[in-house]
């Protein structure tokens, strides 16, 4: 009897292989699914990405460089994009901060509707947006005669490009900031105000430091979208080469002229921009998460003390 008891005890003490965990998939399922997912990503993302650069550099580095800077119209499109996108980003940053402050910090009637309205550009076709701007500011448009009288050009000119870009990209920063500010909460801001902080001090000493990474990411993503905007800009620009062609429009024009190497050269610059955006995003997300955790830990300690 004692013998068997000892046997049982010894057996229980021996390391035994763990039974397969009930919520884990069998290895063959796991391997198949991982393989399929990698295949999907390769076909959909990696191969196209590689293709852009292979096509762009197909004629060698020298020809690539020539395609970019040798063509004055292409060069101008790069300058124009570098002017339009930052202007739109600045306007949208101010809007994003205002919208996030109103929506994440206060309760008011129509708050849900306002949040939904901010998403509108994600679903409205950019072409429709461009058309409406044309109908508003174009020669035949509502303000057309008045604008002509005062010699102000909006459509087929820089302001129109900025407006179209602004519309398409304005949700990006607000969408990034609203959930972040809701997650952070308003305790610190309320404390600062009760300690006598003025509005400007409140913003740049309390709010801005806590949202800076999220804001930066929003700005970078908004910039990427702004530089790449096609549909709305296509309609309002009038595609005047060397005047109102931005980089994406230049890609289309070179493509229509069967100048594929030139088209791919411009495309490779924009693809590079997308890669940089992704890299910054990954880094910043990691930082924001760490700071939020730190914040939680500190406030938990404060609660205990």
């Amino acid at each position: 009897m004692a013998d068997t008891m000892a046997e049982i005890a010894v057996e229980a003490a021996l390391p035994r292989p763990l039974p397969p965990r009930a919520h884990e998939d069998p290895p063959w399922v796991r391997r198949t699914l991982i393989g399929l997912a990698i295949l999907v990503m390769a076909v959909l993302v990696v191969v196209p990405l590689v293709n852009v650069f292979v096509e762009a550099f197909a004629g060698g580095v020298e020809l690539y460089w020539q395609n970019l800077v040798g063509d004055p119209d292409t060069l101008h499109s790069i300058y124009l994009t570098l002017a339009v996108a930052p202007t739109a980003v600045i306007l949208n940053t101010i809007f994003g901060l205002a919208a996030a402050w109103a929506i994440a910090r206060f309760k008011f009637p129509g708050r849900a509707a306002l949040t939904a309205l901010i998403d509108l550009p994600f679903t409205v076709s950019p072409v429709v947006v461009g058309l409406f701007l044309l109908l508003l500011f174009g020669l035949q448009g509502v303000f057309g005669p008045w604008l002509r009288e005062h010699d102000i050009r909006i459509v087929f000119a820089f302001p129109g490009l900025v407006l179209a870009t602004c519309f398409v990209t304005f949700p990006v920063i607000a969408r990034e900031l609203i959930p972040l500010m809701e997650a952070i909460g308003s305790d610190e801001e309320v404390a600062a105000v009760s300690l006598g902080a003025r509005p400007w001090q409140l913003f740049h000493l309390i709010t801005l430091p806590s949202i800076k990474w999220g804001l930066l990411y929003g700005i970078i993503l908004c910039n990427a979208r702004a530089m790449g905007e096609f549909g709305a800009v296509f309609v309002v620009s009038g595609h005047i080469a060397g005047k109102t062609d931005t980089m994406p429009l230049r890609i289309e024009k070179l493509f229509q002229e069967y100048n594929l190497p030139g088209s791919f050269a411009v495309a490779s610059v924009l693809a590079m921009l997308a890669l940089v955006t992704l890299f910054v995003k990954t880094t910043l997300e990691w930082r924001t998460r760490r700071e939020l955790e730190e914040r939680k830990r500190l406030s938990a300690q404060g609660g205990e003390a």
Partner: protein
């Protein structure tokens, strides 16, 4: 807490006022101009412009290519989200950040690249064209670029939901004798259904308005491969502004209905699974 905020924190009137002003300027005013232009047509002319055979073919093409690509994205996106949440494998972080690539890449670049991949002699085309699969300048091409464009939406909607699922439930199902397949079908699938629907709707809505990538790959043949936004541009290039506005109004209505449906779905899923 939020009610207290309004008495304590500054800037409520200023920030809300500015937000409303900006949105008005960006959305309400241009939209009014669009409807004003469309309303300059008589009802008959409007119907003729907005519901001509060519326009109807374009709406139909836009709707079904968006629908098919969103379905494909549910499968692909579901697979990728599942693998990212549940399994470990080398370069997973890199894999994860590449999911957002279609969102960061300008649509014109996407159209250009998929066009060059799918033509005869392109990296994909040289295998597909001999099989009789014409990717470039076809409806298939439209579906392919729309899958690319909508891909991140499904993955990013599903990922947090899959992460929040409790593993205990699956263990309980296994203890009660369910195999993995039954657990997936009867325990996991019902709880991720709302997220799947939301992801589908987002990808669908995004595809409805897509222009930049499709214009490179579809060939834009009336009645065959001409999607609705391309038709709007073609009408514009004929200087038929009112006709273009009529089609745009129909497109806009479709967008509104989709947006409304997404919001109702989100509310519904929050109530049932919140």
């Amino acid at each position: 807490m939020n009610d207290v905020n309004r008495r304590i924190l500054p800037g409520f009137g200023l920030s809300l006022g500015y937000t409303m002003l900006y949105l008005n300027f960006m959305i309400a005013v241009p939209m009014a101009a669009g409807f004003w232009k469309a309303s300059s047509l008589s009802l008959d002319d409007f119907t003729q412009a907005a519901f001509s055979d060519r326009a109807l073919a374009a709406y139909w093409l836009t709707l079904w290519t968006s629908f098919v690509s969103a379905i494909v994205n549910v499968v692909f996106g579901g697979l990728v989200a599942w693998v990212l949440v549940r399994y470990e494998f080398p370069f997973k972080k890199l894999f994860d950040s590449l999911v957002d690539f279609p969102f960061a890449l300008p649509t014109a670049v996407a159209g250009l690249v998929f066009g060059s991949l799918l033509v005869e002699g392109g990296w994909y085309g040289r295998f597909l064209v001999p099989l009789g699969i014409e990717g470039a300048y076809s409806r298939l091409g439209i579906v392919i670029v729309l899958v690319f464009i909508g891909f991140p939406f499904v993955v990013r909607t599903l990922q947090p939901v899959l992460e929040s699922l409790e593993r205990d439930v699956e263990e309980a199902a296994a203890c009660l004798g369910a195999n993995r397949f039954a657990t997936f079908m009867r325990v996991l699938l019902p709880s991720i259904t709302p997220a799947v629907i939301t992801g589908f709707a987002l990808a669908f809505a995004r595809s409805l308005g897509e222009y930049g990538s499709v214009v490179f790959i579809s060939g834009n043949m009336p009645y065959k491969t001409e999607i609705a936004p391309v038709l709007v541009v073609n009408r514009l290039e004929e200087f038929a502004y009112a006709e273009a506005a009529a089609i745009a109004c129909v497109l806009l209505s479709i967008s509104f209905v989709t947006l409304l449906a997404i919001n109702l779905l989100e509310r519904w899923s929050a109530r049932h699974h919140g």
